[in-house]
């Protein structure tokens, strides 16, 4: 569907911990301007896969390609500096710090020189507000407001907006909608669409097939560390996807079991 080279590509990746195989010959590619949904039950290997993509783990075998060139991320920091940003469900924002201070944490803008070098709070607040407004958060009007006063969805937007502002080309979103209500999730899904239109490649990890179907361009289902299915938007029904996620026929069996209980 897209002839651009992948921004990030994994080829035949395996990861073994001790004697356990967490990932077995997994290949996938993240294209610019596409949302790749990574689906799978708990323990299917999603977390390990994210960690390989974001530099926490080195693959046991297989290769990682960044914009067509084989590469190796020496650390999460290395991956981040090269444009691979991971936003986790909970961690990432600090409730008792202001919006502006959170946004620029670790990359604070300063003015003045030498001993008089100081935080440029005005600029930090202004940019932080601009960035979250761009993604539809207009309720927050004061950059000094504490992040703890924002809703879960707003915090996700802040974290994702932050990653994009600092030049992310691949966004790895780990369950960004799972703790959110319907309206909140919609805000985050809308943001993902906007990021896609700006050419960012997105890896969307989720349990929620409905959310995945709403924004996904391509889908990969992991079961026991293997790619059980890989398909494009419209190729499969929601039901098929749900069944795949739960590990094949188990879902319908589960439903039958539940009916039997009633």
């Amino acid at each position: 569907m897209n002839n651009d080279p992948a921004i990030l590509e994994l080829r035949n990746i395996s990861k073994v911990f001790g004697g356990t195989t967490a990932l077995d010959d997994v290949s996938l590619s993240v294209m610019p301007g596409e949302i790749l949904c990574l689906l799978g039950d708990n323990g299917a290997g999603k977390s390990t896969l994210i960690k390989v993509m974001s530099g926490y783990h080195q693959p046991s075998s297989g290769a990682v390609f960044l914009e067509g060139a084989e590469t190796r991320f020496s650390s999460p920091r290395d991956a981040r500096l090269r444009g691979i940003a991971t936003v986790h469900q909970d961690v990432g924002s600090i409730p008792l710090m202001s919006v502006g201070r959170n946004f620029f944490l670790g990359a604070e803008p300063t003015r003045g020189f030498g001993p008089f070098k100081r935080l440029d709070t005005v600029r930090a607040n202004q940019i932080a507000l601009e960035q979250i407004r761009r993604f539809g958060i207009t309720r927050i009007s004061d950059g000094n407001q504490l992040v703890g006063t924002m809703s879960g969805g707003e915090r996700q937007v802040l974290a994702i907006g932050r990653a994009m502002y600092f030049g992310a080309r691949v966004l790895i979103l780990d369950e960004p909608t799972s703790a959110l209500g319907v309206k909140e999730a919609a805000i985050v899904l809308r943001l993902m669409r906007q990021a896609r239109s700006e050419g960012v490649g997105i890896v969307f990890i989720t349990h929620n097939a409905r959310h995945a179907m709403a924004v996904g361009d391509r889908f990969a289902v992991l079961i026991h560390g293997k790619t059980a299915a890989s398909f494009a938007r419209g190729d499969k029904s929601r039901e098929d996807v749900l069944n795949l996620m739960a590990g094949g026929e188990q879902m319908s069996e589960l439903e039958e079991d539940l009916e039997a209980v009633d």
Partner: protein, 322 residues
């Protein structure tokens, strides 16, 4: 008004104002509100305040330092034995005492960061180790655990000058507070302090060098404690291994009264400053009332309990949406 209530130092300010007015009223005419009366509580607050500011910053970063007490005494003994027993000039001994303070802080910091043990326990152990070592080594060298100090005019000018009843320590306290407020509120390092105490994982994830933040602050508390040891030594013309033991818990207490959260991540230097001032007002105010000074402890305990409750409330209030 609502924004004022959300500030961490609000409670300390209200308590300070109320307590001050209370004592001014109760001690009517006894001189508590006079210039000398003010110098009295400011002197008392100042020395504690110089240590309490870095201790408070460290608490905002999520760690405790209970070793400050012994560092005060050790620094005073370095100066005392150096000048009196060995007859060295005082300034190099002052330098040595400050280096010792920094070294104790560095050790605390490295141990806490490398072992991930709670700093409460690590620095409590350091507190015993340092006072024990100070006494033991002083005995070995000079067979004493306290000694007079040979000072010079220049040292007295820097550490023991007085204007009327007011000690120069008040000026040092104000300088420490201004420096602390600048670092915490206006620098990137200050941002890292909040982040380190507020959410360690997130701070690390954002590239904040959390280990360096903690170690730097431990070094700062060590230097501040040594500075106070020198200040007291020169002021009283003597060093003593037991100087400063009162600060072990007073410093964290005034930080908490000033609105610093015990768990870290929230607080302000203005608050710590006001908490310390409040401590000074209570300690000297009771004296002016003519009541038994035994009541001081009761007051402080009550205040601490109230402060912890209030901080909890303030934090929750700060996190409600507007």
């Amino acid at each position: 008004m609502k924004n004022l209530l959300r500030r961490p130092e609000f409670g300390a300010f209200a308590a300070f104002a109320l307590t001050y007015v209370f004592f001014a009223f109760v001690t009517h005419g006894a001189g508590f509100v006079s210039i000398n009366g003010a110098a009295g509580w400011l002197n008392l607050a100042a020395e504690l305040g110089i240590v309490a500011i870095p201790v408070g910053l460290l608490m905002i970063a999520g760690e405790f330092d209970l070793s400050i007490g012994s560092t005060v005494g050790a620094a005073s003994m370095v100066v005392a034995i150096g000048t009196k027993f060995y007859g060295y000039p005082i300034w190099p001994m002052i330098g040595l005492a400050l280096v010792l303070g920094a070294a104790i802080g560095l050790t605390n910091g490295l141990v806490v960061v490398k072992t991930n043990l709670p700093s409460f326990i690590v620095t409590l152990a350091t507190n015993f180790i340092v006072i024990g070592a100070t006494m033991g080594i002083s005995r070995l060298i000079a067979n004493i655990t306290s000694s007079s100090i040979v000072t010079t005019d220049s040292a007295r000018m820097v550490f023991a000058a007085r204007w009327g009843q007011a000690n120069i320590s008040i000026l040092w306290w104000v300088i420490a507070a201004l420096l602390g407020a600048w670092v915490l509120g206006r620098t990137a390092f200050g941002n890292w302090i909040f982040a380190t105490g507020g959410n360690l994982q997130a701070a690390r994830g954002a590239g904040v060098p959390v280990e360096r933040v903690k170690i730097s602050l431990f070094v700062a508390t060590g230097i501040a404690a040594a500075f106070v040891g020198i200040l007291q030594g020169v002021q009283w013309n003597s060093g003593n291994a037991t100087y400063g033991q009162g600060y072990v818990f007073q410093a964290p207490i005034v930080a908490v009264i000033g609105g610093v959260l015990l768990g870290g991540g929230y607080g302000s230097v203005t608050g710590i400053f006001l908490g310390t001032a409040l401590f000074g007002v209570i300690s000297t105010g009771i004296f002016y009332t003519g009541w038994n000074t035994d009541w001081i402890q009761l007051f402080l305990g009550g205040l601490l309990a109230a402060a912890v409750l209030a901080n909890n409330y303030v934090r929750r209030f700060a996190l409600t949406s507007r």
